[in-house]
Symmetry: C2
Subunit: 243 residues, 2 copies
C-alpha cells in the first residue's frame, strides 16, 4: 500500500490511528504527475475532485474580464487544494503547476464518506480550513490597507514561514519559484512596482538575492514593515477530539 500524502500532512499536526491512516490511504489510488505550467483545474469547468499536493508548487488564480490576474494562493507540499468543489460543481478558480508536480486527487464523495466514518479527521479538516480562513483575512488586510513595500515584505515572510513548516532545509533563504509578475499578481501590484520594491529592500539590506534564491536578513524589521504575524507559532490543536 502506498503511503497517503494526505495522512502525512494531517499527521504533522496530530498523531493518527492506524485505522485513520489506512482509510486515508485508500483514497489515493493514482497520484498524478503534472508538468510545470500545466493546468490542473480550469475555472468554470466541472470538478468532482480535490487534491493534496505531494511534490512541487501549485497556484490558484482567477482572470478578471479585463485580463488581469489575481493569484489567490500558492500551495506547497502537504497542502489541501480545491475544497471548493465540495460546494460548487463548477470550479471557482483555476489551478496551475508552478513547477513539475505530483498531486494526489480524491473524489469528493470518497472524502465525504471518510469524514462520516472518521470524525476526528473531519474535525482536523475543519480546524485547518479555519486556519486557512485566518490566513486569507491576513492577506485581505495586507491588500486593502498596506503599502506596496509592506505587501512584498509580508508576502515573502508568509512564503518563508509556510515553506518552513514542511521543509526543514529552509533556514533564512529559499527559492520562491515565482516571477516578479506572479508576485505582483498575488499582492495586487504590477511587476514593475514589485521590482522597484524588491530592489529597494535589497539596497536597504533587508533581503538579498542570487540566482533565484531569496535571503531574508532582518526578519524582525521585515515583520514590522509588513505588519506580519506568524500564525503558525500560535496554533492550538487541543480543540480536537482525544485520539
Amino acid at each position: 500500500m502506498a503511503t497517503s500524502c494526505f495522512a502525512e500532512r494531517l499527521a504533522k499536526h496530530v498523531p493518527l490511528s492506524d485505522a485513520e491512516k489506512s482509510a486515508l490511504a485508500r483514497l489515493e489510488e493514482n497520484p498524478r504527475k503534472v508538468k510545470r505550467g500545466a493546468m490542473i483545474q480550469r475555472v468554470n469547468e466541472t470538478v468532482t475532485e480535490l487534491f493534496v499536493l505531494r511534490e512541487g508548487r501549485v497556484m490558484s488564480f482567477v482572470i478578471l474580464p479585463d485580463g488581469s490576474r489575481q493569484i489567490l494562493r500558492v500551495y506547497f507540499p502537504g497542502d489541501f487544494i480545491g475544497s471548493a468543489s465540495t460546494i460548487y460543481s463548477k470550479a471557482p478558480e483555476s489551478l496551475v503547476a508552478l513547477t513539475d508536480v505530483v498531486v494526489c486527487p480524491f473524489d469528493k464523495h470518497a472524502l465525504r464518506r471518510l469524514l462520516e466514518d472518521y470524525p476526528r479527521v473531519a474535525a482536523l479538516l475543519f480546524l485547518l480550513s479555519n486556519a486557512e480562513r485566518v490566513a486569507m483575512t491576513d492577506r485581505m488586510a495586507s491588500l486593502g490597507r498596506t503599502s506596496a513595500k509592506a505587501r512584498v515584505a509580508s508576502f515573502l515572510l508568509d512564503m518563508f514561514d509556510r515553506l518552513r513548516v514542511t521543509d526543514d532545509g529552509v533556514i533564512d533563504s529559499f527559492d520562491l519559484k515565482l516571477t516578479q509578475e506572479e508576485i505582483g499578481d498575488s499582492i495586487g501590484l504590477t511587476s514593475v512596482h514589485v521590482n522597484r520594491m524588491i530592489r529597494q529592500m535589497e539596497q536597504e539590506g533587508l533581503i538579498s538575492r542570487s540566482n533565484g534564491r531569496i535571503t531574508l536578513h532582518q526578519m524582525a524589521r521585515l515583520e514590522e514593515i509588513g505588519h506580519y504575524i506568524n500564525r503558525h507559532k500560535v496554533m492550538d490543536l487541543d480543540w480536537l477530539p482525544v485520539g
Copy 2:
C-alpha cells in the same frame, strides 16, 4: 425549549432531523443581547466561544499598527461567527455590533462534541466554510485587481445578495447600516473616495439613495462594473450525506 438559531440557519440549506435539531438547540443556553457599537470580541483576547448571529449586524475587523482598519466581513442574521477560536486561543480579529444585536454563543468544545455525534452537521459546516472561503477569494480579487468603482459596485451587490438569502423583504433596496468610512475600510478605500464613487454612480443612475436606504437600479450593469458573481445561485449541496 428555545429554538436554536443555529438550527434555523442550517435548515435553510438542508432539512434537519429532529435529533439534529434538538442537539443544536442544546448548545444555546443564553442568547445574548449586545448594544450597537459594543465589542463582542477583542483581538488578542482569549476566546473559547463561537457565535451564531440571530438578529442585527456584526462586523469583524483588524486594526493595523498605523491605526488603519480593515473590515474583514460584515455578518447578517443566521451567519456563523468566530470559528477561528477553534484553532487560535487568542482572537485573530475583533467583533463589533453594527446595530443592536442578539448573538447565540456556544462553547467551542460543545461544538466539537456536536460534530462528533452528528456527522451530517459536521459535513454541512465544512461545506459552508468552503463557501465562505470562496467568498473571501472573490473579495481578494476585488481588492487586488479592481478599481475603486468596481469595488464599491461588487460590495453593494454582495451585501444585497447576502441580505436576500435570509430577508425576503429585500427586493431592490436595502439599508446598509454602514457609514461610508466603514464601506471604505471594507474595500480598501478612504471614505472620501467611497463618497466620490457613490455620488458618481448615483449621477449615472446606477443607484439611488434616500435617508440611508440604497436602491440598486441596473443590476446587470453593476455586476459588469464590479466583475461580480453571485455564488449563492450556483451552490450545490448534493455532496452532503443523505438524510
